[in-house]
Assembly symmetry: C2
DNA sequence: TTGTTATTGAGAATCAATTACAACAATAAT
DNA sequence: ATTATTGTTGTAATTGATTCTCAATAACAA
């Protein structure tokens, strides 16, 4: 719940202004650990009777990205999906190409790769994204039943 | 140059038709190892006086993806970027967030991660994508000069 | 050849994301 | 306090990528 405060600081540092709209959006972003897209975030706000324009949602997400508190997770169904990273351990994503389910996982090796490249003088690595694609257990089982049946 | 033939086979297998438009598009896709997006591919065709509609370019890329001969590499500037994979070794991508340059690299560890998950009975992993982000050497040097100057 | 059916190009439609702008609000300057 | 400056908002318009519609055409099998 402290990403909210960090975002306030970021806004101040940048000489921007803390507005009630930003406050509400950012609180909502940090209220869950789920992945989200602009539309679901916007609808969550509407359901709570917060009348904030979609433009402001876009603008605030853009700021959250710049602040480093939110990251783009993946692009699917024609639009971007996000998650907040403050207070969460780093992790990677497995995406089921059948049911679109997301499964998070952590592999130390990926950190090693990141470190190795960071130490080389060739690049300054600031981030990485590893996605695995395939079929989740549920969808595997469904397919096996299909073959059997 | 044989991805073209494999694509013909794929099209036949699926009961689809080999058309001159598809042939021209696919030849162009396999004519270089560069990353490409729909627009640059379309313009390359236009420059060669091939009058093929953009819709057909989209449709053929979609087939190429399904056939497994082409892969989505990354989403940037509001649209997808692709590369053909036939006849190429697997590799990952480093993307400079300053100049947008792409640098390809290969890490065995990533293959290990893929294998490890494939063997687990939890998921059936069919593919992966690893991207590193940061600053390339050129952009690092530019920034250092900025600080010094 | 002929019939069936996939494919094409052109343009319209869709949808995510950005932008222009006028009203408004917060801060700084006088 | 008053005024000027500048940031922010919502609305609506705009841009740009991608998909879709549909009538004309062409691939392929019989
Ligand atoms: Mn996640
Ligand atoms: Mn590549
Ligand atoms: Zn699944
Ligand atoms: Zn660079």
């Amino acid at each position: 719940m402290d990403g909210v405060r960090l975002f306030r600081d970021y806004v101040n540092e940048k000489g921007l202004r803390n507005t009630p709209e930003r406050e509400v959006i950012v609180r909502e972003v940090f209220s869950t650990h789920d992945h989200f897209d602009v539309d679901t975030l916007y609808l969550r706000l509407r359901n709570k009777k917060k009348n904030i324009s979609k433009a402001s949602v876009y603008r605030t997400i853009s700021l959250l990205i710049k602040s480093g508190l939110v990251k783009e997770v993946f692009f699917e169904d024609g639009h971007m999906h996000y998650e907040h990273v403050y207070g969460r351990d780093h992790h990677c994503h497995f995406r089921c190409i059948s049911c679109k389910k997301i499964i998070e996982f952590m592999e130390e090796e990926i950190i090693d790769i990141h470190r190795k490249f960071s130490k080389s003088s060739e690049f300054e690595v600031t981030g990485h994204r590893l996605e695995l694609f395939g079929y989740c257990r549920d969808c595997m089982e469904k397919e096996e039943k299909n073959k059997a049946g």
